[in-house]
Each structure stands twice: as C-alpha cells, then as structure tokens.
Symmetry: C2
Subunit: 423 residues, 2 copies
C-alpha cells in the first residue's frame, strides 16, 4: 500500500464547504488504495485574526505565548477536517504537531524541524485511520515547548512527514494549478510547468515565488521526496518537483528556462561616500550581521580616483530596514561614510533555469528584453542557474512580461487563478 502525504493550505479550508470538499478529496485518495496523512493549515484568515487579538493585548507579545496562541488555528482546522471525513463514514484521527512527533529546535516563531517521530501516526495508519496533522507547529526537543515553523511552515510539515515515513509522494494542494513560468497575476499567459528540478525550485522559491516555501524544498531535496504541487480546486495534474528522471515515454529534454520569479518584499540601502580602504565593507556587513539581518544582493561602485570614496548598496527584506539603518548609524563615525539612503520602491526579477549552464546566449537575450521595454537595471547578481536584477518597483511588471515573452514561455491562453494563498 502506498503512503501519500497531502498538504492543504488555508484557502483550501477557508470555510465549512471548503473543508467538506477537501474531505471528499482525501477520501478519494484513501479509496484509491493509499494510506493518507494530511498536513493542514489554519482556516483562511484565522492566523491573522489571532495576531490581531494578540496585538490588542500586547504590542510585543512573548514569542512562546504567541506560538501557543497561533497553534490554536491548526487545532481548529484539523479537528473540523477530521469531523468532515468521519461524517462521510471514514475513520480518522487528528494529531497536533506535538502528538505527531514533529520535534523542533527552541526558536519560537521560526523553529526548524530537527526530527520527526511519527509513532502515533503509524499506529493510527496501521488501524486503518486517515490521519490529519496540524501543519506549521511542533514541540521543542529540550524544553517541550510548543513551537511554530514560521511562514510556509505547513509545506515543511508535510515534506518532513513524507520523509520520516518514506511516503511515495508529497502532494502540496494550493489555489493554483502548479508551478508557473511566472506569476499569472502579472503574466496572464504564464504556463504551468509539468516537471521542475529541486535546484530550480529552490532558486525560484528564494527569488520570490510563493507557491512552495523555500525550506520545504530544501527538505525535499535532502531526503529525495518528490513533491507534486497541484490545485485543490481541480483534478488536473500539477507540477512535479523532483530530481528523479521523467517516466518513460515522456520527453526527457529539459527546457532551458524554468521560470521568471519576481519579488517586491525587498528594499535597498546605499551607504554613500565610504572611504575606499581595506576592511570598510567587512565592518559594514559585520554590523548588519550582528543585528541578525539577512542581506541579499550587494553592489560596490568602482571608487572615484579623485575622491577615494565609494558607494556600497545592498538589498534586504523591507521589514528589516529600520533595524539595518540603526545598525549602520551606530558605525558611521568608525567607518566615516557620508550618508545613508533607504529605498523601498524597488523590485527584483529573477530568471531561473538549469539549462543556463550550457546555453551561453541566455544573458544577452535577458538584458536585451529588459532594455527593449526601457527598464533600467540598478543591480545585478547571478548564480549558475539564475540571473537577478533590481529595477524600479513600478517598472517590474513590464520587465517580467518582456523576459517571459523573450524566452518563448508565453502560452496560447491565459492561466486560471482561483483565490488567495494560505500559509
């Protein structure tokens, strides 16, 4: 008997009707002869509503108590989903993250899964039950405290369960038909991708694609778990994220480009007038790192010979802007730079494809497409299978459309978009 792990996001279980629909879908999988374990997110806006409540009582709630609060969300959705399955005549058991053996480190709000001990799940499966597990949550190894995994955590729960129980596939149900060559809200002619490698999916997730959370892809790659991203609103096949070879009979020639990702969540800080001496950049980025801030792209201008001064720009999540500015102000005298500029009107475009390695013309086509629509490139960074550029926020969509078209990714028809996205 094959074991299938499924994950349903918040938009798939937003109300009683949706929950019943998902229940039918789970039962279909069971009836097809599979054991089924389901990770589920909190219903629709539950998490936001709980956060609002928390903010009403405290502007800065203790992370331990915030995790205690937020985990009520999946407790509600998983119990309701179990009820809906039982109501259709199938035996079912729901388990919290703690009961399911999702063991994490001690970091409240952004815990990492360090082990999965699915004893209770395996017992329940052996008794013929369908199993529902609360996504997004776990219990810490040392102090046995309730933890949450952060944004996208339910994807990671599903993949971790699939890995621990050697599932044959981890199906991630969402509100789109799969992974697209671009966000269909920007590129109406974006095409669904049938297969994509883990490496490409990692680059897309790291570049702003929201369909799968980065950590879940890392987890799946490490444990070699094939992910099937598909819609809970249709029965179409979605996208297989896997490094395993395509089934016989399917084309084995991989496309050069997997897709175009965009990201509006970043800001740019420019440190103006940095003395061009050894160690200045190191001092600046040490201060940023000590403040616990992750930076993305970095650009340093060539020093103007007459002044001996240079500018250093880098991008970071908008939300960490204030903390970074403060950290830099604190070292202004030490470094001797002239001023700081904060710019949150930027966008990032990334082209991802494993085929780039062996196709030298990709960069030329990419930059020509952007130039042809008159968009200015402010920063550039590359990996072996990715090119990213920063543009003005209000020109980003034009650039995405142009690049998507230039690489022949446009489909004949517009894609279907169903609704919002869950966590």
């Amino acid at each position: 008997m094959a074991l299938v792990v499924q994950k349903y996001g918040g938009s798939s279980v937003a109300d009683a009707e949706s929950i019943k629909r998902v229940a039918r879908r789970i039962i279909e999988t069971k009836k097809a002869g599979n054991d089924v374990v389901v990770a589920v997110s909190a219903m629709g806006d539950t998490t936001d509503e709980l956060l609002d409540l928390a903010n009403e009582v405290s502007p800065l709630p203790p992370p331990r108590e915030l995790d205690m609060l937020l985990t009520a969300g999946e407790r509600i959705s998983m119990a309701l989903l179990a009820m809906a399955i039982a109501d259709q005549g199938h035996s079912v058991r729901s388990f919290t993250g703690s009961q399911a053996g999702v063991i994490t480190d001690e970091s409240h709000g952004k815990a990492k899964i360090i082990d999965v001990t699915p004893g209770r799940i395996l017992d329940a499966i052996a008794k013929g039950h369908i199993v529902i597990v609360a996504g997004f949550q776990g219990v810490s190894k040392e102090t046995k405290e309730i933890t949450t995994l952060g944004r996208g955590g339910s994807d990671t729960t599903a993949v971790a369960l699939a890995a621990a129980m050697q599932a044959s596939v981890c199906e991630i149900y969402t509100d789109v038909d799969g992974v697209f060559t671009a966000d269909p809200r920007i590129v109406p002619k974006a095409r669904k991708v049938d297969r994509i490698t883990n490496e490409e999916m990692l680059e897309l997730a790291a570049s702003g694609s929201k369909v799968l959370h980065l950590r879940s892809v890392e987890y799946a790659r490490r444990f070699n778990i094939p992910i099937h991203v598909r819609s809970s609103f249709s029965h179409k096949e979605g996208t297989f994220v896997t490094d395993q070879p395509a089934p016989e009979g399917e084309s084995v020639e991989a496309p050069i480009i997997a897709g175009v990702a965009h990201d509006r969540s970043e800001a740019k800080i420019t440190v103006v007038g940095v003395p061009d001496r050894t160690g200045m950049a190191a001092t600046i980025f040490a201060a940023i790192a000590e403040a616990g801030i992750n930076i993305d792209m970095i650009v340093q201008n060539v020093s103007a010979t007459e002044t001996g001064l240079t500018d250093i720009s880098f991008t970071l999540p908008k939300t960490e802007g204030p903390a970074a500015m403060q950290a830099l102000h604190n070292i202004q005298d030490e470094v001797g730079f002239a001023s700081l500029q904060f710019d949150d009107q930027i966008g990032k475009l990334s082209l991802v494809g494993a085929g780039m390695r062996s196709n030298p013309g990709v960069s030329a086509t990419f930059f020509k497409a952007i130039a042809d629509v008159g968009v200015n490139v402010e920063m550039i960074s590359t990996s072996e299978i990715r090119i990213s550029v920063v543009t003005r926020d209000d020109r980003l969509d034009d650039a995405v459309l142009a690049v998507h078209s230039a690489f022949g990714l446009d489909a004949d028809e517009a894609a279907v978009v169903y609704g919002g996205t869950g966590r």
Copy 2:
C-alpha cells in the same frame, strides 16, 4: 509564600479589555506576596462559535475530534491572558491542560479528573512565573488523548489544581458578587451569602444554582479546599464555601437557610396505568438506567383499589426526554402500562439550609408560603438539608419570591448583576 489559585470564566475574559483587566487583577495578587496559578475559560462565546463550526461540517462529530476542537478555545484565552500579563512587566507561562498535568479518564466531552501531576507548574512557580492554565481540559491517562471536562469544567480544573498543590484558597471569579440566597434575576432582593458550608453548596448546585459547578464543590469538599466565589468586576469579598470555622470575631451562628435554588432544565415523564405488581417500578427504572439517563425526583401515586393500576412520575433533564420516552416505549408490552405523558413545562424550587435539621418548623413555613401565592405543588422530594417541589414553569418565579421572603432572606436593596455567565 501562600499559593492562590484563581479561576476566571468566559465572561471575565470576553475581549481584549477584559483580558487586560483580569491581568491587572492577577498581578495585584502576585504583588501582594502570593504565588498565583490561574485557570481560565474560553473567551465569551468562543465555545459556542466552535460548536457552530462543528455542526456545519458534521451533525454528529466524533467526541475525540470535538474535544480537540473545543480545547482551542482555552488555548487562545490563556495565551492572550499571558501576553497581557507579560505586557505589564511580569513573567508568566501558560500551560494547556495536558502540559499542566490534568490527567482524566477516557470519556471525551465529560471526562473526570483522576490525577493532577503539576510538575511543570511547580517548576514555573519556583522560577517566579505567574502560571496560567487552560481550564476545562485534560489528557486521558491511558491513551493520552485530549479530553474536556464538560460544562463548568474550568471550576473543577481550578479546584483540582488547588488540591494538588495545597493552595491556601481557590478563588472562583465570576460575574456576580458571590453565592446569593436566590437568583437575583428572579429575586431582586436576594442577599449575598458570606459563608456557606460545602454540604449546602452541593445541594444548591445540584438544585439548579449555576454559580459553582457541582463537581467542583464535590472536589473541594473531598480535599478540604476553601473556595472563595467573588466577582471579577469588583473588589468586594464574595462568598466563602468552606467547612472550616469562621475566623475569630465573626458570628459563629449559622443561618437556618442558605438559599433558594430553582431549575428550569428538567422535564417530567408520567407512566400512566402501571399494573400495581411487584417489580414493575424496578423494570421501568432499569430501562431508563440502561439508556444512560439520570433521573431526579420520583413520585408513585397510591394505587386505586378498584383498578389495581398506579401512575409513576419522574423528572429528568429535558435534553434526555426523547431517549427516555423511546426506552419506555420499548418496554410497554412487557410492563403493560397504558400510556406515557411528557411534560416540559415544569420548574423546580429547592430550599437549602443545614439549619433545617434542628428547626422543625421549616416545612410548614415553606408550604404555607407557596400555598399563599396560589401555586400548586406537583411533586415533592427532601433530603436532610433540602426540600424540593415541582410547580408549573410559569408559576415558579412567584413561588421562589414567596419562599425567599417567608424565610426573611430579603435584603433592603436590590443586588447588582453584571452580565452573562461563562463555563
């Protein structure tokens, strides 16, 4: 350092403002030099809202999953209360019933506490934390499943915690000033009782008084835990429920009557034309017991000599009426009774007082008061410290007012009522 256990009901934590108010109150107790452990109910209508959601997905949800769902309610309220306390600068930890070591039997929806192992609470207290515990919930001893204690369960949680940790007092905060000589919504001149014995409180709770749940009083009596019932909306002293002698200087002469309770939750079933033979009543009540139904009062008429037939009436919770009628129909041929009558238009009035034992005139005064307002008594039952009668539902209030007045319980001023009641 004294340990004080407090319980706050749903109406005391109905919204963010209420939660902040309760937080201040808890901090006052801590600042007065006490260790504090708080059991808290779900916010306001949360439990009803969760039940509505459950009913939307299933008319008859599995009890295990219903408990999983409902326990989300206290998880939310306890985390928010902990946040509010932390926001005011005090260290605090919240614990679910399971984490707090509230061990129950396996009966979902009406579990009984069989042990309390408060290791994590004691650790937290030793570190100086205020402790918040989810009321109403526990974990089953054998199967480690999440359970709930049924209506009024948070009172029982508080008393059980107080007993396990030998607290000096268990304070039950509610939306009235304490235990009253009658329900102030019926008797505006009801008086707050300063002290009441466990035995009297048990009879009142069993007779329809909702201020304390019956099981919590039983628990407190067994472990000799003094309960202080008081309002979370004022700082007045409430009612001490205790068998311990009054402090020196206070009057030690107990009043004859503790109070008048009423109950509109019962119905009456009459089995008409039962052959007056040995064992007929036993057959009838065995059938009722086998259906798992608790009955309250029983009256059997004297058999009419000419017919050899008698009628048997009994009261039971209205909600169990249909099941009882079905059980009786099933034995109609065996017993040979003529017909069944179901009457849910009844009310029950109970007079409770330990002083009845030594005051023979109580019954006479009681029945005269009821007769004087023209209310017909349909059934009577008594214990050593209680007289109960059944009347027409629509005459119950008149009878309650008359009895309250006849025993000189009326206060000079009307009592203050603050709001609804929590669980």
